[in-house]
Subunit: 392 residues, 2 copies
């Protein structure tokens, strides 16, 4: 407990999600303790209560949990046994192992979702290369192979064009002791996401469905609300709620969806605050971080409505090695305003170092403003300013 | 500078204003260092970079400023000489001495405002009791005496009903070496406040005029926007802007106004983020804390429009010595939602320990919700719950 009687939430991992959860905790008086691997990590730079340790060390996790009232996770890369050890020692981990397994074990997730009648693409477990070729025989090439858990070399998803690629992958994955599964290749029209917050007893709130726009496989822009027919948005929300119920998650649960020929198919899920929910930090009645905290503390959840017609988030992906600081003034000067959310990370090309939210009544202008601000912040915008000082 | 190249703002004082300024700084990547008297002060509990020292020690202030790029103030109780010493040593203090004097020296403020044609009540300097009685001869009893700077026994304002009270006060103030001034007693109809943020070069933004509702001389509720004729609200904003220009403030400048027979009269001013601006933390395009930071760093200022028709803030004044923690769930459960902003302070009767914001489209309902949440959080609400569990 804090000196003034508030619960202490322990966050395993000190990335930007922990940092933004800490921001939400301050206003609510909630204590936060962060388990960081290094003192210069995103959340460790702003939170005064930091334990140094490894999320893959059972001893570190158990010692950390003993100093917290509830433990939650900045990322899913935490050892299952360690989480069980925390619970065995009387600690509380939220979300719990049942929900986490849906995010960590893709075959389990697909199997359970299919059994519950939720929309997943056709899939199969892969033990030998024949499992892939016979699957492709039924559904056609290309197919998508996935590591059931994690992956290697920073990858966990491979699009396979034919039997040779399949044979290569199965051989390599066997060497890496990485079990695979296979799914049909989904010709993606658009991508949506939906966030649900759920309390232990089952109370849920669901955020407006959003559209996520990827670039090079990385989330680039999130548009809230998604510009899709109301029936599609409502179906996305219902899918999110059904998954929250099925997984018995506590906290935020994010579901990414493909829109294919007007129908929704579940892509991935995450059992934590999610990049697709960062729009909620501005111009939304309750941010995903606040609702995550309220959910894991079993407090009543907050409303999720947007306070403006449109909110657009653009991620800041490093373009160089320069500090963002000198670029902030030109970005925040954009007419209509934007809110940068910077993660306190050293800038490197391709590294996610922050995001920016814009809000407004005109969808296109709001989106353009968010993207322009992101370009100015990452330095991409500099080249498009003509010598006269006018924007090109 | 921070490791990632951002400026470090030093805040003298570690109260709730420093705490909320720190909250705004995190998203912007700005570094914050706090000068606290004790490690358990409001801002020192949440900010990892705390120097222990006294705001009345010149040595502490100069050493503190040497570790910061810009110094700003949580409160005005800072020694003028110390601030000059910081500037003499090459440090930057914002707001500067010129603006601070308007908040610290009431006679100076009234004299300069009157000279600029700004609406202040009739006033006079007091050297002897005759200055008060002759002033009352011209304007009538009661009159309002004020300490020119500060005050004593926690008071700086006295309403005097006649010559005997005046004589007592003048005698006591002389013993305390407290110079006085006198003003007419203003029969207050309602009270308004207006906040301006100003950059060093003169760029200003002004927030919607708000109504402040006092109880026992303490701000109880703030209603944004004020429910007054548009011409009155606009006049309040223009007064705020003219004062910002006159004082050459850098940062937030708050002006409290009396509304008397439809006309505005300036009450007090503050050269810092202000209780009357806490509404801006929720449902406002840019909070006063963010704009204060942007102003003192000479960054472009953010828009000040409300994102919902109404926002109401209610202060949380301690009623007992109990932790607020067990009371948060019932407050945040109120339909429509509220945002508590808690200051991490031990609760004591009469102590300001937080505030709560509510927002919505119905002015009366929004106000009732904020007040109800404040009552639930401070424990006043408990008695009004009947045994059946229904609210009385």
């Amino acid at each position: 407990m804090t000196p003034d009687g508030f619960p202490v939430v322990g966050i395993v991992g000190a990335g930007q999600l922990a940092r933004m959860t800490y921001q939400a905790a301050i206003a609510l008086g909630i204590g936060v303790r962060v388990l960081a691997e290094r003192p210069d990590e995103s959340a460790a730079r702003v939170c005064p209560t930091v334990d140094l340790g490894s999320p893959s060390s059972r001893a570190d996790l158990v010692a950390f949990a003993a100093r917290c009232d509830v433990v939650t996770l900045d990322h899913e890369l935490v050892d299952d046994d360690a989480l069980e050890a925390i619970e065995a020692a009387g600690g509380i981990v939220r979300p719990g192992a049942r929900a986490l397994r849906f995010a960590k074990d893709k075959l389990h997730q697909r199997t359970e979702f299919a059994r519950a009648g939720l929309p997943v693409p056709p899939f199969a477990e892969v033990r030998t290369v024949d499992d892939i070729t016979s699957f492709a025989g039924a559904y056609g090439w290309p197919v998508v192979a996935k590591a059931q858990r994690g992956g290697y070399d920073g990858r966990g998803v491979w699009v396979l064009g034919g039997p040779a690629a399949a044979a290569d992958l199965v051989r390599e994955a066997a060497l890496r002791e990485t079990p695979l599964m296979v799914e049909t290749f989904v010709p993606i029209e658009r991508e949506l996401a939906v966030l649900v917050a759920r309390r232990p007893g089952g109370e849920c709130v669901v955020y407006p469905a959003v559209e996520t726009v990827q670039r090079d496989g990385i989330c680039h822009v999130v548009i809230a609300p998604a510009d899709v027919p109301a029936s599609v948005a409502e179906e996305a929300r219902q899918i999110g709620l059904r998954i929250a119920e099925l997984t018995e998650v506590t906290g935020i649960f994010a579901t990414e969806l493909f829109l294919v020929d007007g129908a929704l198919v579940i892509n991935e899920v995450a059992t934590r605050p999610h990049n697709s929910g960062h729009f909620s930090m501005d111009a939304c009645a309750t941010s995903q971080f606040e609702n995550h905290l309220r959910a894991i503390l079993d407090w009543p959840l907050g409303p999720t409505d947007l306070l403006t017609p449109h909110v657009v988030m653009a991620n800041l992906l490093g373009e160089d090695h320069e500090s963002l600081a000198p670029r902030v003034p030109s970005a925040v000067a954009l007419p209509g305003g934007v809110h940068p959310h910077l993660y306190g990370k050293e800038v490197r090309p391709g590294r996610k170092v922050g995001h920016v939210n814009a809000w407004g009544s005109d969808a296109e202008e709001t989106r353009a403003r968010a993207i322009r601000a992101a370009a100015l912040l990452t330095g991409r915008g500099v080249a498009s300013v003509s010598p006269s000082g006018r924007n090109s």
